[in-house]
């Protein structure tokens, strides 16, 4: 390819000065076109899903969603990501573990150009970020306290204590919370692991229940059991699920 490919970039940082600095450094690079600037996580998810940028400059600490949560939600909508952070031991460790490049604020034009060149190479080689591994290392096995769901360009934040139960549906999970259902692309086992220690229990191959929502257990015909929730919803309980539930109650 001899012609210069234009790359679409989005700058995400809650500080106007920090965004301006990246814009200033980018003036030396005519192949990069800034298509959006975002000041918080919600805007970033919306812009990334609508504009499908080649490159995302992503700050870690921001209102609404932090950089890792943004990454989790946009998935492969951005071809390449350059993280920027002032100081965050946990984030830096995750980056180092997975050999992901990042910019430490304050950074100079030289270091910026270097990071940009690395990103160009990744984009050209279609070399994708190890998103799942990065998120897992950063979370360090700690339970989540909210579930994030993207519905096209909108983001729903569901605090885990609002979840009644989760149902597996092929490659998705359906999360029932506050009278509504939300679909999220995730396996039930994965979500179950993230909710460990938050009062949830796998009562059936296809269901994870918030135990505090359980009203009673009823015996249906053929010695199988049904969980009746406070809102009268009925969920099946498997034999092993019943054993675990009895151990808990």
């Amino acid at each position: 390819m001899n012609e210069i490919t234009q790359l679409k970039a989005i700058i995400v940082d809650d500080e106007a000065h920090a965004r301006a600095l990246i814009r200033e450094y980018l003036m030396q690079h005519s192949d990069i076109q800034v298509v959006a600037e975002c000041a918080n996580g919600f805007e970033a998810v919306k812009a990334a899903s609508e504009l499908k940028p080649d490159l995302l400059f992503l700050d870690i600490q921001m209102p609404k969603l932090d950089g890792f949560e943004v990454l989790d939600l946009i998935g492969r909508d951005a071809a390449s990501v350059i993280f920027t952070t002032a100081y965050d031991e946990y984030a830096l460790r995750a980056f180092d573990v997975h050999a992901v490049d990042y910019l430490l604020k304050p950074f100079g034009a030289e270091r910026f150009d270097e990071a940009l060149e690395l990103a160009r190479v990744r984009i050209r080689k279609r070399d994708a970020l190890p998103i799942r591994e990065l998120l897992d290392t950063h979370r360090e096995g700690a339970a989540i306290d909210r579930v994030l769901i993207r519905n096209r360009s909108n983001v729903h934040v569901i605090p885990v204590e609002q979840i009644d139960y989760v149902e597996a549906q092929d490659d998705y999970v359906s999360i029932r919370a506050a009278g509504r259902s939300y679909l999220k692309e995730q396996t039930l086992g994965e979500l179950e692991a993230q909710l460990a220690g938050k009062g949830f229990l796998r009562i059936h191959r296809r269901y994870v229940l918030n135990v505090s929502r359980l009203a009673k257990i009823e015996l249906s015909e053929k010695d199988s059991r049904i969980a009746i929730l406070n809102d009268k919803t009925e969920l099946p309980i498997s034999r092993s699920g019943y054993t675990k539930l009895r151990g808990l109650l």
Binding site: A20, E24, Q61, Y87, Y90, P106, F107
Partner: protein, 356 residues
């Protein structure tokens, strides 16, 4: 253990120092035609004496010289010890002469023990010298030790100070501020300079105010306002400040930089998470014998949690506890999108050290 015996190199040098004494004895008391006899007699005895001399160390330890134990009190003990050593010298010389003679190799050292009183005096006087040398040795190693201790404790104090400083200044704040300066340098140089100066003033305050010092609330609030001015450059219009302390409260004293972490929390975990920002409100009043300070800020209950959040509050609580015991309290609550931290501590009007 004896410090000279503990170190082989030192022991070697110590024994070497006795060699001239042995040579003097050989030359002074030997005969022109019997140098061999004199050397065989005096040199081993000198080496033996060197070891006897080491025992002066324990005598010096038993009778230390200090202001309440003057040296003359030890004189009788030293004199009797010297007499014993003198007698020991005579006995050892007599025994060694008998041994050399019985070897039948032509040595006749009997001539040297014909004047036992001379051996006695030499042994006793040299022992006094050994005692004097040991006092010097003990004094110099004690001063070395105390010097080392002073150096070590100085280092420890410095380290504690640096640790306190690291805890006070959030690296995230520092590096973000530097990044703002870097950004402003290109777009708005006067603002960049202003921010540099603000940051310098704030760092100077933090360095100057040790962790043990107490300052007036008025002073503390001026440090806090410097901090907030820096964050206002960084966060722009998102951060507003309302700081008011009633007059009697402003004169009350508190541990330096006690409020700083609370205000930092209000910005970092409060305002920085709000898209439109909000106001950090600081108020203080005197209520009878107590000083009440309140820091509040709007907050987003659904904010992404940062690891180690709450460490700042824990440190403030520990500090209040160690300075005032049960009289120092920190209460926090978060409801309806507002976070409130309330400190109460005994009202004191001057700088009073906590533990003295």
């Amino acid at each position: 253990m004896h410090p000279i015996l503990a170190n082989a190199r030192q022991l070697g040098m110590y024994l070497l120092a006795y060699l001239p004494i042995g040579i003097v004895l050989v030359i002074g008391l030997g005969h022109r035609d019997a140098w061999g006899t004199a050397a065989a007699f005096f040199l081993p005895l000198t080496m033996l004496y060197a070891f006897i001399g080491l025992s002066a160390y324990y005598l010096c330890l038993a009778f230390p010289i200090s202001s309440d134990q003057p040296v003359w009190r030890a004189v009788p003990a030293h004199m009797s010890a010297a007499a014993c050593v003198g007698a020991l010298c005579v006995g050892a010389a007599w025994l060694w002469a008998a041994v050399l003679e019985s070897l039948n190799i032509g040595l006749q050292p009997q001539v040297f023990i014909e004047q036992p009183w001379l051996l006695f005096v030499v042994g006793a006087v040299l022992f006094w010298l050994a005692i004097a040398l040991h006092y010097v040795l003990i004094a110099s190693s004690a001063s070395q030790r105390s010097e080392q201790r002073a150096l070590e404790s100085g280092l420890l104090a410095r380290e504690a100070e640096l640790k306190a400083l690291r805890a006070q200044i959030d690296p995230h704040f520092l590096f973000n501020s530097l990044n703002s300066i870097s950004a402003l340098t290109g777009s708005d140089p006067p603002s960049a300079r202003k921010m540099c100066l603000l940051l310098a003033d704030f760092l100077r305050d933090t360095l100057r105010l040790g962790a043990t010092q107490r300052i007036s609330l008025r002073e503390e609030l001026s440090v806090v306002q410097r901090y907030l001015a820096i964050e206002q450059v960084r966060l722009g219009a998102r951060l507003k400040v309302d700081c008011a302390a009633s007059e009697p409260a402003g004169g009350g004293y508190l541990p330096a930089l006690l409020l700083q972490p609370l205000v930092e929390n209000a910005v970092l975990h409060g305002i920085a998470h709000l898209i439109d920002g909000g106001t950090v409100t600081i108020g203080a009043e005197r209520q009878g014998a107590a000083l009440l300070i309140r820091v509040s800020n709007p907050s987003d209950p659904a904010r992404p949690r940062r690891p180690r959040a709450g460490l700042g509050l824990l440190l403030v609580r520990q500090r209040l506890q160690s300075e005032y015991g049960a009289a120092g309290q920190l209460h926090t609550r978060e409801e309806q999108g507002e976070f409130v931290a309330e400190v109460s501590l005994p009202f004191t009007e001057k700088e009073e050290a906590a533990d003295e």
